[in-house]
Amino acid sequence: MKASIIRSLFFIALLTGLVCCVPVKQYQKTYLNDEEMQLGERKVAVFEADFHSYREGAVGGTIGNSGSGCGCN
């Protein structure tokens, strides 16, 4: 039940996002160019990603190609 709600919210957000996009000129990108608006993970979050991948079974999709490591700690 909870999973289906999350999935529905995900698709609604995705569709809303795709439908409501408007052409944005370079001079209108002041907010978008803010470092904290970038879509990648913060460097500190990338650094912490290992512990999430060890303590949870799910990996990948957030920091590019999932790396190497035994995960045995």
Binding site: K2, A3, I6, R7, L9, F10, A13, L14, G17, L18, C20, C21, V22, P23, V24, K25, Q26, Q28, K29, T30, Y31, L32, D34, E35, E36, M37, Q38, L39, R42, K43, V44, F47, E48, F51, H52, Y54, R55, E56, G57, A58, V59, G60, G61, T62, G64, N65, S66, G67, S68, G69, C70, G71, C72, N73
Partner: protein, 400 residues
């Protein structure tokens, strides 16, 4: 040692190359970006009582100290070289239970080194870039190397971007001795318990970024991960209902993993940003997971922000999981690793990010060297299985 020598060599190489190219081509010097060096440090501590080393029942107490240095040198206006070296040292109570009478080969040297080299080529005329990655991991009982490449292309107005990445990773258990030395002490001498000591991973990831409004952008990304080889851990015990003697964890030798993520960043008000992420994950072991991450950076000034953040994760167990003394001897595959069990977890914390336009401070001795940004955050992590952890991380970014 060898890894450290390689790191030092690569560092020297990148510096020499940067110096040569910058001094010989004075015209290029004017438009080269500054070189960057980032230092990251973290301390992580966890407590729990479901260690897979002792069959799903036993201490998971662990402390990890990690540091990383990332050096990015633009060797040409269209070329950039990045070297990343991470060192992590951990003390683990469960590793010591592989062989409680002596310090076992798996726990005697808990030092992990990771090195990654990335070279990026930018084609500004075509709004595209491509690059290559080379990586290595080394610890006493484990080693690996990886090769990768990527390509990205932006639309003419830079409102859309498509990126594709591919990589291959080869990992090997027990680099300097036979893998049987990693078995729990009571299982040694039982012959060959695993069919291979190698793990092969192939990754392909695709990402599409779209600017939606002057204050909102999103990214949709998917990754395809195929692994084969030894996918279990050669010192994880499993206990059965019918016998007291443990067996070594056993998992299928092939695994397909598919994470799909959606990010949405929104500059909601003049001082408040919303950074969000949702990830759906499914794999061939039967694990399904949902992850939601939310960050709310609040800008106290244009250059200083405070942000609370939270991460909620829920997953189903893999079909081979069962707890301590719950497995049956008739099962083909079995594990008591609670990281692969049905669980939910929540992480919450806060941090600050400081990056003034005129730098935090700088040294002017020959070449300018400035502290450009500083970030620090703390998080508390709680898992439904009883495991809880704290992590504190800081990042110092310099330019020179």
């Amino acid at each position: 040692m060898r890894l450290q020598l390689i790191t030092i060599f690569c560092l020297l190489y990148s510096f020499i190359q940067a110096q040569q190219e910058q001094s010989s081509v004075s015209k290029e010097k004017k438009i080269l970006n500054k070189s960057e060096v980032d230092f990251l440090f973290s301390y992580y501590h966890q407590e729990g009582n479901n260690s897979a080393v002792t069959g799903g029942l036993g201490t998971e107490k662990l402390s990890d100290y990690a540091s990383s240095i990332i050096i990015t040198v633009p060797t040409k206006p269209t070329r950039e070289f990045t070297l990343e070296h991470t060192t992590s040292y951990y003390t683990s109570a469960s590793s010591d239970n592989i062989n409680p009478t002596t310090i076992s080969s798996a726990s005697s040297d808990n030092l992990v080194h990771k090195v990654n080299l990335t070279e990026v080529y930018k084609d500004t005329a075509r709004n595209s870039q491509y690059g290559f990655k080379l990586g290595g991991t080394h610890q006493n009982n484990f080693g690996g190397f990886s090769l990768g490449t990527f390509y990205s292309k932006q639309s003419y107005n830079k409102n859309r971007e498509f990126k594709v990445q591919a990589s291959y990773t080869l990992d090997k258990w027990a680099l300097y001795y036979h893998i049987s030395k990693l078995y729990p002490y009571e299982l040694k001498g039982q012959g060959r318990l695993v069919s291979t000591d190698k793990r092969y991973s192939y990754n392909l990831s695709l990402a599409y970024k779209q600017i939606l409004t002057p204050k909102m952008q999103m990214q949709l990304a998917g990754e395809f991960i195929y692994q084969y080889g030894l996918l279990s851990t050669p010192f994880h015990r499993v206990y059965f209902q019918e016998q007291t003697m443990a067996k070594l964890e056993k998992l299928p030798g092939h695994r397909l993993r598919l994470p799909l993520t959606f990010r949405l960043n929104y500059y909601a008000f003049d001082r408040l940003l919303i950074r969000s992420l949702y990830r759906y994950y499914v794999d061939s072991y039967g694990l399904q997971a949902h992850t939601i991450n939310l960050e709310l950076p609040f800008k106290i000034t244009n250059f200083f922000s405070l942000y609370p953040f939270t991460n909620y994760h829920t997953q189903t167990a893999i079909r081979y999981f069962n707890g301590y003394k719950k497995h049956l001897l008739t099962e083909k595959y079995y594990t008591s690793d609670y990281d692969l069990s049905t669980l939910w977890s929540i992480e919450y914390g806060g941090g600050f990010y400081y990056s003034p336009v005129n730098n935090i401070f700088y040294f002017k001795k020959g070449r300018n060297f400035a502290l450009k940004k500083w970030e620090m955050r703390y998080a508390y992590y709680k898992r439904s299985t009883g495991l809880h952890a704290s992590i504190i991380t800081t990042h110092l970014g310099f330019i020179f």
